[in-house]
């Protein structure tokens, strides 16, 4: 028997002896739900989520500062206290800042707020690569911003929030606590096990670092990693060989160092290089975005210089909303579509009619609150969300109506028939025809298209309605 045939049969026979447990799906669904519930990124939530960070290798991640959004003034208030925590030296493995078991006694009680702190980057320190443009980097910050902008959230690192540190096995417990816009904690604090740079769900405790001002922190590099493969990284302690750290310097567009730190990388992350342009807008205020398109480097450098660009503040005082007016007021309803199931078509027309009437409450009444998704940030007030969107000029109701005039698709692959608008939502972006792109043009601009090109899929506004006519979602984002 030829070697390849022998190998093929061997693998097949081995696989025949392996079957998943009967409850695998239930366990998996529970784990995914749990993971999502506790990992909502801060910029997508109406609340602040601070993460008391970790020990061992996981605590190579330093999280500093505090943040608030939706209310920029609050951010300025809470993140101005300098912290004497020294910056890690380049080329060294950063050490945990608060990871000993003896800190357990001072761990914050669930619900207790720990005063946020901030780190002021040392002045005059030039790190390897500081001020030097990254090879292949766009020539200007504006160009870079079009290439890729990633918001980096900041999390606080209260002393004592890390317990049960096992530096050998690189395990630690960390505490998660949500804090509302009023600065008060809400919900239950969660203690999360972190292991060796990964949490128990296998999610990397990505690298992180910095802040610069009293307004925003730089954090969350989880998609950035130099191309080149794990072998290019220095092993980190007893961590896996494919884990490692890399020194990172952030500079402003003028070349001034605003922060230094390190990023960790490991496992699949090294193969998860950012694929292309991505722009995420800060929902509530000014901040820094790190422009990090590291693809194409070819090798993994030992240090990176990345440009951080300040994001302009959102409109401070959007005008009050005229209840009789909205962006959909002058629109025509969509033409009836006899090819849709009656229940679906009825819902489609009802949505459009309520939007054209600028009737937010009527729109909300069309939803099933337990099923409907209008924002990935959660919350239970779609009418308020849409009203605020209109007040801020996002023309959410116009999108709501116009999207229903675009083509639809049916997805019944998961056993539940879902009708979605626009049709392109269900397609790979490369399969979207010119005609379909043209149909989107009145609603979206070149920047949007650039994002979808990079993302390889449409993630603008879309409706989902099930076969019974239940309005399941009107949401944007990826």
């Amino acid at each position: 028997m030829k070697t390849d045939d022998l190998l093929r049969r061997t693998l097949a026979e081995r696989a025949d002896h392996v079957e998943p447990a009967s409850d695998a799906y239930a366990r998996l669904a529970g784990r995914v739900t749990e993971a999502r519930a506790r990992r909502r990124p801060w910029w997508r939530s109406p609340h602040v989520l601070w993460l008391a960070a970790a020990g061992g290798a996981a605590a190579a991640v330093i999280m500093i500062g505090a943040l608030v959004f939706d209310d920029p003034s609050t951010t300025r208030e809470v993140a101005t206290t300098p912290d004497p925590t020294p910056a890690p030296s380049p080329g060294t493995t950063p050490q945990p800042t608060a990871t000993d078991d003896d800190t357990a006694a001072s761990a914050p009680t669930p619900g207790e707020i720990t005063e946020p702190s901030a780190v002021v980057p040392p002045e005059g320190v030039v790190w390897p690569g500081a001020g030097q443009p990254l090879e292949g980097w766009p020539a200007t910050p504006e160009a870079a911003a079009q290439e890729f902008v990633r918001f980096l959230g900041g999390w606080d690192l209260p002393v004592g929030s890390v317990t049960n540190v096992d530096p050998v096995e690189q395990l630690a417990d960390v505490v998660l606590q949500s804090i509302g816009e009023d600065g008060q904690p809400f919900g239950e604090a969660a203690r999360v096990r972190v292991a060796g740079g990964f949490d128990e769900g296998g999610v990397q405790r990505w690298g992180v670092r910095w802040l610069r001002s009293d307004r925003i922190q730089v954090d969350d590099w989880f998609f950035a990693g130099p191309r080149g493969g794990p072998q290019q990284f220095q092993p980190k302690g007893r961590a896996q060989a494919f884990e490692g750290t890399i020194d990172v310097t952030l500079v402003d567009p003028g070349g001034t160092v605003v922060a230094q730190g390190f990023a960790t990388a490991g496992g699949t992350e090294l193969q998860e290089i950012l694929g292309g342009p991505m722009v995420l807008e800060h929902p509530g205020g000014p901040g820094y975005a790190v422009i990090a398109d590291l693809g194409g480097l070819g090798v993994a450098p030992t240090a990176l210089t990345v440009v951080a660009v300040e994001i302009p503040a959102a409109t401070e005082n959007p005008p009050e909303l005229d209840p009789a007016q909205c962006s959909a007021r002058q629109l025509d309803p969509p033409e009836p579509d006899p090819t849709l199931p009656t229940a679906v078509e009825v819902t489609r027309q009802a949505i459009a009619a309520a939007a054209i009437a600028c009737d937010y409450e009527a729109l909300a009444a069309l939803t099933n609150p337990s099923l409907f998704t209008y924002s990935f940030g959660g919350g239970g007030d779609p009418a308020g969300f849409w009203r605020e969107g209109e007040r801020r000029g996002s023309e959410v109701l116009r999108f709501m109506v116009e999207t229903l005039k675009l083509g639809w698709s049916l997805d019944d692959s998961a056993g539940t028939a879902l009708y979605s608008w626009p049709e392109v939502f269900s397609k790979a972006w490369s399969e979207v025809t010119e005609a379909e792109r043209d149909a989107l043009r009145p609603l979206y601009d070149d920047n949007d298209f650039a994002q979808w090109d990079a993302f390889e899929g449409f993630f603008g506004w879309r409706h989902l309605v099930d076969a019974q006519g239940t309005w399941m979602a009107f949401v944007a984002g990826d």
């Binding site: 081995r14 998943p20 995914v32 997508r44 989880f222 807008e281 996002s394």
Partner: protein, 176 residues
Amino acid sequence: MLHAGRVADSEVAPVDLGAQLRTLYDQHYRSLVKLASFYVDDVWSCEEVVQDAFVSLLGGRRSVAPGREAAYLRSAVLNGARSALRRRRVRRAHQPEPSAPAPSPEPAALDRVVRDQVLAVLRSLPQRQTDVLVLRYYLDLSEAEIAETLGMAPGTVKSHAHRGLRRLAELLEDLR
């Protein structure tokens, strides 16, 4: 244009998530558990690795381009499987007994000794060669798909496959 009131977000809507999870589970879960079994001996650990990969993909912390989910899962499973034996994992309270081995449906099954030898030799190959061979000869992936999964150039895949298969033949010959 994306306006301030619009949420640019990488989380998946609950309705999408459920459907996506179900679809990905139905299409890939079983084969990924079997894939992990080439690296990890017990079925429970294999499932842990695969579940970790799913949670990593769908847990809300990352955004994987549509169409790339399978490659991501395969990659995560390969990395996770290799890590599983070296890293102490946090055990969950719920640990069902591993599934009982099912009899091989193939009447003319390979001699178990031969099969174990092949697997042992396969595991002794350089990591990437093992990965390439498993992906190619178990999952029947194309070179392009393997390249996407492992983050390497298609030419490198071909090279690893050629070298791996040749080395496998040499080592098996030595055993005879």
